[in-house]
């Protein structure tokens, strides 16, 4: 019986990434010294389920790796090990490494062995040394080729690993606990049984046998490396060790695979931890291992953003929905069905005296439909914490790199927003936060000199206002320097020297392509690309971004976004017999005009003078080839002043019809993209209306 496991892979990966996120946020909230066992438990659970899952699916690389993390976490959980910053850093690095591994496996790429090995080594050193925090000067490098390296940390449960049947034999690392003999087990008997299966060679590690005078004959101080040759099923070997399970740690691997270091699993506390390293290579080389791990963490950071971006675009396929939301939906559908059958009954033998009943029924139907729509939209809503939860890590890593002290405060993480918005807002936010970290918050010394607390604060805040969600990034850093910005803009020729700009306009300058005031380029920010991309991304989501800043006090960047991308507020306009929808957000104002009020430029283009500004006019009839309707109407009409990509222009339409919320339907789903049109919607009478793409129209009209 073989089940196609690959059908579960998607779910597995999703769970893993969720688990990793939980681990990451857990690690970041860990308070040094004061260990909150609940947090460690959460992290441990994350690691454990990844290990379990990857074992099941045969991703042994991941399982092996997680196993080591688990060992370390277990000791922390039991209080046998101090939670130290270096250890946490290494664990964070491991989370990154795991994420890389899983992404690679998911994309069916080859796992980067080198990076995995580095992280593994770092982990092992923390695990073995245990003292890395206390004596960071003498960590021990353990070479991967150290086959016989057996780490003994006195656990009491065997973690089994799935290992395929070996062709030639098995390599068994057998580390009994001190009290193995007291439980009545005799290793010699086990060995005899093994020898019956195949030719057995034993190698006893007696390094940790104490002096003769201190020797307790009832304690088992020896561990063994056993090699059983022959074609033996793994289960047979496991059977032999069944009796000592729980009294030893054991690692069974086929010969071919035994090149990797064998590492035991740990499950429970042992009152007397006895870390021992038995190695073929007994002289430990002092090596800087901690920085290696940290460096790795940061290196992957820059790529992280790119990877993440790619990832989110690739896997935008499934969504996890709260069961409550589905239950509400089902209830609602039930109500609709009931109302429908009630109406059916009324309609069956309709007489005029049933009009009241009919009206009531229709009113009920209307209410239910509205509720239904609302709850369906609700399903697409996710808390913004999906995005926010990644930032503590970002801040932690970057502030460490910049030697700044920064705390990140998250407010309103449970604010719900459409899934599509959640996915697309991530990259702009990463960019803005990096900016705040790099340019906003000053170095601790500068802060103290400026009379501010040494530790800078970045607040990430989300809340609902009207039909929008507002995301604010507030820092208490140095703020934007208006004069400097203006000088830079003039120097770069982006602004005329004598132009008077308002404060707001000056701040807007940072959104110009190629504008950067950073004196020094860093890999975090300062290349002058980015802010314009940020603004473009946010505008493409139908939102806008504004900056409030006070020199020396800090900067607030506020992003306003529509709650959902599936519905928009639109103004319907008539052009001939056609109805178009103009997104309300892009409309500045509408003016009734007659043709005489337009000015021709060079006999072709038309402009309209609006308060001393000449705006280009786009005739909708012309650009969309509409010939229907009353042509005399075109003598007078309505100018809709719209803003598209920062440019104002006027759309000449016949008349304004009304404002309404419209559900956006894609034209591309069944046809293709049409220039000047961003989508379609269905009007109350069931007909289709096209939604205008204002920036696209502007571009189209220029050609």
């Amino acid at each position: 019986m073989s089940i196609d496991m690959s059908q579960f892979h998607q779910v597995f990966f999703e769970e893993c990434f969720e688990g990793l996120e939980a681990m990451e946020s857990g690690l970041l909230t860990l308070d040094m010294g004061a260990i909150d066992s609940e947090i460690i438990n959460t992290i441990f659970r994350g690691a454990h389920s990844i290990k379990g899952g990857s074992g099941t699916f045969g991703f042994t690389v991941v399982a092996d790796y997680t196993h080591i993390m688990e060992t370390l976490l277990d000791e922390m959980r039991d209080g046998r090990r101090q939670v130290t910053q270096p250890a946490v850093d290494v664990l964070l690095g491991s989370v990154d490494c795991l994420r890389e591994m899983l992404t690679a496996i998911q994309n069916e790429q080859i796992v980067n062995d080198v990076s995995v090995a580095t992280h593994k080594t770092a982990l092992e050193i923390v695990l073995n040394g245990g003292s890395i925090a206390e004596e960071p000067a003498s960590p021990v490098e353990q070479e991967l080729a150290n086959v016989a390296a057996v780490v003994h940390i006195a656990p009491d449960i065997i973690e089994e690993k799935s290992v395929e049947l070996a062709g030639q034999g098995w390599k068994i690392a057998f580390c009994p606990y001190l009290d193995l003999l007291k439980t009545g087990n005799d290793p010699v008997r086990l060995f005899r049984e093994l020898n019956e299966l195949g030719e057995l060679t034993t190698l006893a590690n007696i390094q940790d046998v104490p002096d003769f005078y201190e020797l307790d004959p009832e304690e088992c101080n020896i561990s063994w490396d056993l090699n059983v040759a022959g074609d033996i099923p793994e289960d047979d070997i496991r059977e032999i060790f069944n009796w000592v399970e729980g009294d030893c740690e054991i690692e069974i691997q086929p010969f071919a695979k035994a090149v990797k270091p064998l590492l035991p699993a740990v499950k429970k506390a042992d009152p007397e931890p006895t870390p021992v390293i038995i190695s073929n290579n007994p002289d430990p080389k002092p090596v800087e291992v901690k920085p290696k791990g940290v460096e790795e963490t940061k290196k992957s950071d820059a790529q992280d953003a790119d990877n993440e971006a790619a990832k989110t675009t690739v896997k935008a396929s499934s969504i996890r929905v709260d069961t409550d939301k589905i239950d509400t939906l089902i209830n609602m559908v039930g109500e609709v069905v009931i109302t429908q059958s009630m109406l059916g009954l009324v309609g069956e033998n309709f007489t005029m005296d049933k009009v009241g009943q009919l009206k009531r029924g229709l009113a009920q139907l209307e209410r239910h439909t509205r509720d239904l729509q609302q709850s369906v939209m609700n399903i697409r809503m996710l808390p913004i914490s999906f995005v926010f939860s990644r930032f503590p890590r970002l801040v932690h890593d970057i502030s460490g790199k910049l030697d700044k002290k920064i705390v990140l405060k998250l407010v309103g993480e449970n604010t719900e927003v459409d899934k599509a918005v959640v996915e697309l807002i991530n990259d702009p936010l990463v960019h803005l936060i990096r900016n705040s970290l790099d340019h906003g918050i000053e170095m601790p010394a500068d802060r103290v000199a400026a009379g501010k607390p040494e530790t800078g604060t970045i607040e990430l805040k989300a809340y609902h206002r009207g039909g929008h969600i507002v995301i604010e990034i507030i820092d208490d850093g140095r703020g934007l320097d208006k004069d400097k910005l203006l000088a830079k803009a003039i120097e770069k020729g982006l602004v005329e020297e004598n132009n008077l700009l308002t404060e707001k306009q000056i701040f807007e300058l940072i959104f110009m392509p190629g504008f950067s005031t950073a004196e020094q380029l860093t890999d975090i920010s300062g290349r002058g690309v980015g802010m314009d991309v940020v603004r473009r991304n946010i505008q493409s989501l139908g939102g806008n971004i504004e900056i409030i800043s006070e020199l020396g006090k800090g900067t607030t960047i506020a992003i306003h976004l529509p709650l959902t991308l599936a519905i928009l507020d639109g103004q319907s306009v008539a052009v001939g017999d056609e109805t178009y929808i103009v997104p309300l957000v892009s409309i500045i104002e509408s003016i009734n005009i007659t043709e005489k009020m337009l000015n021709k430029v060079a006999g072709k283009g038309e402009t309209f003078r609006l308060r001393n500004e000449y705006l280009p006019v786009i005739r909708m009839r012309g650009i969309f080839n509409v010939h229907s309707g009353n042509l005399t109407k075109s003598k007078e009409g309505v100018l809709v002043v719209v803003e598209g990509q920062g440019e104002l222009c006027c759309l000449l339409v016949d008349e304004l019809l009304g404002q309404q919320q419209v559900v956006i339907k894609s034209l591309e789903a069944n046809y293709r993209r049409v220039e000047g049109v961003s989508g379609a919607t269905i009007l109350g009478d069931g007909s289709v209306a096209l939604i205008l793409d204002v920036p696209g129209l502007v571009r189209f009209s220029i050609r």
């Binding site: 339907k665 789903a669 096209l690």
Partner: protein
């Protein structure tokens, strides 16, 4: 004998035939999603003339193509008898729903593919790329269309540039 019959059966496909300016055309019935009466559509600006517009089909926006104009047949006013055949078009991994306007739907025929003749080469004047072949039924010729090729959105685009 039985195996022979079966293999024959497997080569029989059902086709929906329809009238277009006194000519008979056929499409695979498995591609047909539904048949509906003509109703007004919303014009899409700046598209080829044979793309009549889009229609609201239970919430999805479906483009409607006039085959008369597509095949450069004489134009005729839409009447109460004019029908729209809604088809499911496959283009690689993607599926599109599109409608075609026909004068009238005639019949559903079981056609043995062995009886389908290859469309003759008309030279460069007539494009036979969209034809699966020809079939003679009651002494009348029926053109069997390859829906996937005919209504492929890229093709629609391509035609526009050719015109």
């Amino acid at each position: 004998m039985t195996t022979d019959e079966q293999s024959n059966n497997s080569r029989v496909e059902q086709f929906l035939t329809f009238q277009l300016a006194d000519e008979a055309y056929g499409v695979e019935i498995l591609k047909v999603q539904e048949i509906r009466g003509w109703e007004a559509v919303r014009v899409i600006p700046n598209t080829p003339a044979f793309v009549k517009g889009v229609l609201n089909l239970r919430g999805s926006v479906v483009p409607i193509i006039d085959l008369r104009e597509r095949f450069s047949l004489e134009h005729c006013e839409y009447s109460a008898k004019t029908v729209v055949i809604v088809l499911c078009v496959e283009n690689g991994p993607n599926q599109f729903v599109m409608g075609i306007v026909a004068d009238a739907v005639s019949d559903v025929l079981d056609i043995n593919l062995e009886d389908v003749k290859k469309a003759p080469n008309f030279g460069s004047k007539i494009d036979t790329r969209y034809m699966r072949g020809m079939y003679v039924y009651k002494k009348k010729m029926i053109m069997l269309l390859d829906v996937d090729k005919l209504l492929n959105p890229d093709e629609v685009e391509g035609i526009e540039s050719l015109v």
